[in-house]
């Protein structure tokens, strides 16, 4: 492909500004919409992908069959951690809890700080590495706290917050390590970590966390290097669970009601698929919107590609019509000796030019629309414009340029120079005309389908937003109380006063 081909292509675009604007803008809008949707799809598909060797990590989950509904929970009795560490095939095991930490006080300012209480080996299991400080030491020191870089900036105005202190309740804790921020697409989000020996844990609780003897639960993670060992590990944990005192102590009438079913079923599921775990998403403690639906995400990927296809077909049709109007030029080039390859390359160059201009414009449109889109899908997509993704978008633009150039190039090859140059321009070949009609029908059908889908979603959303909740919400005041605060004297007094 020669530079001249691009130069001539650019001149053609400049000579027909109306056509060029429609072709480029149509493709750019399709590209932008496709990019945003694929960005969301990629975001959803890469949940927890940042964890080193994530494919080896399994989440232990269970369901309590005594409950008639028996939803799955991604939490398990902590006594299984010790069993897991002794089970062949388990390379590592740890657990953590999402903690409703009381408000953190820095100086005179109060902050919320979602934290994790983590058991030994948590950092190793998830491959966490501190930016500053000693992470392992921080998780065993009673007065130590680990925070993320963005939390450090939020609390102290700088990521260099090592040895700074915060007050949680009546305890003073010192920042002993700074971690990089976990990505937004993780099922294990946190702003701070502290270990079992922390002063935030009662002495009795510390022992229970490590042994689980009295039935404490947590989110249990295992590293199993050989995927073939997963069923055996699950079976070993199930046996340990069946033998646990809490399970053995279930009343006989309940056992009779369960029949052949176990009191508690246990299963392992890959952390890599935790975001799409629909079983867990159905349990009552799973926050709404916390998990994704694989079919919905796959559907959005298809919609994204369909939108891009509409843009591409639109451009192919416009470009083909342009070729039909340029038959004399094509004929002349053939007469002057342009080979099949040179004709194809010329139209490919023009198509690539349009496609790359549209890609760049599409990237700009997507960048401008990103905040609104991120709010719409309720996900943090600010990393969508990473260098790798922009590079990938340009690559898609290149491929699109080649694909959309095929039909115009093929039409150009069909031009018969003798007739074209004698002013008896032959019309489109029968096959070419059929192909173009088919593409037009496909384009319109897809556009109508997508428009109907969008309208359906809009109507449903409007209905949901305007539906009556069955009570008058206007005079209600919602007060969000931290977990421990709910039991305090002050809150109880406040509730009593409310009457």
């Amino acid at each position: 492909m020669r530079l001249d081909d691009f130069r001539i292509g650019l001149r053609h675009l400049l000579r027909a500004p109306g056509y060029s604007a429609i072709a480029i803008l149509g493709l750019a809008v399709g590209f932008a919409a496709c990019l945003l949707l694929l960005g969301y799809v990629q975001y959803s598909w890469r949940y927890d992908a940042h964890v080193p060797r994530v494919e080896q990590i399994q989440v232990v989950k269970q369901r309590f069959n005594v409950d008639p509904v028996a939803p799955w929970f991604d939490q398990a009795p902590l006594l299984l951690r010790a069993t897991a560490l002794k089970t062949p095939g388990v390379a590592d095991a740890s657990a953590f809890f999402r903690v409703d930490v009381p408000t953190v006080k820095v100086g005179t300012t109060l902050h919320k700080m979602p934290s994790l209480l983590v058991l030994p080996r948590f950092a190793q299991l998830l491959g966490l590495r501190a930016l500053e400080g000693d992470l392992d030491a921080a998780l065993i020191r009673p007065d130590a706290l680990v925070i993320t870089a963005s939390t450090a900036r939020r609390l102290f105005g700088s990521a260099r917050a090592l040895d700074r202190t915060v007050q949680i309740g009546d305890k003073l804790l010192r920042v002993a390590a700074i971690l990089p921020d976990p990505p937004a697409n993780t099922t294990i989000p946190f702003e701070a970590l502290y270990g079992v020996p922390s002063v935030l844990n009662d002495p009795g609780m510390r022992t229970e966390l490590l042994t689980g003897e009295h039935g404490a639960w947590g989110r249990l993670l295992l590293r199993i290097e050989n995927p073939d060992a997963v069923p055996q590990v699950a079976a070993a944990l199930q046996r340990a669970l069946d033998a646990a005192p809490a399970v053995q102590g279930v009343a006989p009438d309940i056992r009779a009601r369960l029949g052949a079913r176990r009191v508690m079923d246990l299963a392992l599921s890959p952390l890599r698929e935790a975001y799409f775990d629909r079983d867990v998403a159905r349990n009552p403690v799973s926050p709404p919107g916390d998990r994704g639906d694989r079919a919905t995400v796959a559907g959005l990927a298809v919609v994204a590609l369909l939108i891009l296809a509409i843009g591409a077909i639109n451009y192919m049709n416009l470009a083909t019509v342009r070729v039909l109007r340029r038959q004399r030029e094509i004929g002349m080039r053939k007469v002057l000796g342009a080979s099949v390859r040179q004709i194809v390359l010329q139209f490919m160059a023009e198509s690539l030019l349009v496609s790359l201009l549209a890609t760049m414009l599409g990237l700009l449109l997507a960048y401008l629309a990103l905040p609104l889109f991120a709010e719409l899908v309720n996900r943090k997509l600010e990393h969508l414009f990473s260098p790798a993704n922009v590079g990938l978008a340009l690559l898609i633009g290149l491929v699109l340029g080649v694909v959309t150039g095929l039909q115009p190039a093929w039409t150009a090859l069909r031009v018969r120079p003798g007739q074209a140059l004698a002013g008896r321009a032959n019309t489109e070949s029968r096959i070419g005309a059929r192909m173009r009609k088919a593409l037009t029908v496909l384009q319109i059908a897809t556009a109508v389908g997508l428009a109907s889908l969008a309208m359906g979603i809009a109507l449903q959303t409007r209905f949901a937003v305007n539906a009556s909740p069955g009570f008058d919400a206007a005079p209600l005041l919602i007060v969000d109380l931290p977990g421990r605060g709910k039991k305090s004297e002050a809150v109880r007094g406040f509730m009593t006063a409310l009457g």
């Binding site: 080039r333 002057l336 080979s339 099949v340 003798g418």
Partner: protein, 230 residues
């Protein structure tokens, strides 16, 4: 140089079959200046397309420079044509996206000639045809006569052995038409074989040989006065 042996060509439009060339036999030697004449629809342009290797006959033979090209692929015909045949058209067919010099250079763009040499040869050819001062203009900024000179420059810049001209004066006034005919005479005198399709009896008479077509057949093939003139 060119030899047609009982060559026929027909077109089918819907259910109607039209015979454009009917068992044409024609021999054109290198260096000849041949005018093809005849009424509209007699097959002149089709004959020129076949001679120029744009089209092939349905039956019969076409020998080009001693090679029977029957059954050759489009790619092979393209290779044979490149640089050996120059074309001039009634509508000039200059590309508006290119300036005058670029239009002429285009004839060398698909050859191995370097960019520098392309520029030099195009400039020299434009100068020779008296339109060198218009090299940076767009074709639409030129008069019809000037455009046809540019088209001739484009046809000749690759130094073809054969020049085919389809009604080259059809869109020109008398003065410009005569000027173009004078140029074609000069080109032929320099050794290039010229085949011209024309309606004009005067212009045809300037060729050394006149072939008259009627209904796809050769009605007459005669040496003109121009050939025998001293």
């Amino acid at each position: 140089m060119l030899k047609l042996v009982s060559l026929s060509k027909s077109f089918t439009g819907g259910e109607v079959k039209t015979t454009a060339l009917d068992r044409i036999s024609l021999d054109i030697a290198a260096g000849e200046y041949v005018a093809i004449t005849g009424p509209s629809g007699c097959g002149k342009s089709t004959l020129l397309s076949v001679l120029g290797l744009f089209d092939t006959g349905d039956s019969g033979q076409y020998w080009f420079d001693g090679q029977d090209i029957a059954g050759w692929s489009e790619m092979a015909l393209h290779t044979l044509r490149r640089g050996r045949i120059g074309f001039i058209f009634q509508d000039f067919n200059l590309l508006e996206e290119l300036n005058v010099a670029e239009n002429v250079e285009l004839a060398l763009a698909y050859t191995d000639v370097s960019r520098q040499e392309r520029r030099e040869r195009a400039a020299a050819m434009l100068d020779k045809l008296g339109v060198g001062h218009r090299a940076r203009h767009r074709p639409s900024q030129l008069s019809g006569g000037q455009q046809q000179r540019v088209a001739i420059a484009r046809a000749l810049v690759a130094r073809p052995a054969l020049l085919l001209a389809d009604e080259p004066t059809g869109n020109l006034d008398t003065a410009h038409g005569n000027e173009v005919m004078r140029l074609l005479r000069q080109i032929n005198d320099e050794g290039t074989t010229v085949v011209i399709v024309t309606h004009s009896a005067d212009h045809a008479a300037q060729a050394g040989r006149m072939v008259r077509l009627l209904d796809g057949r050769i009605e007459a093939d005669a040496t003109t006065l121009a050939q025998v003139a001293p």
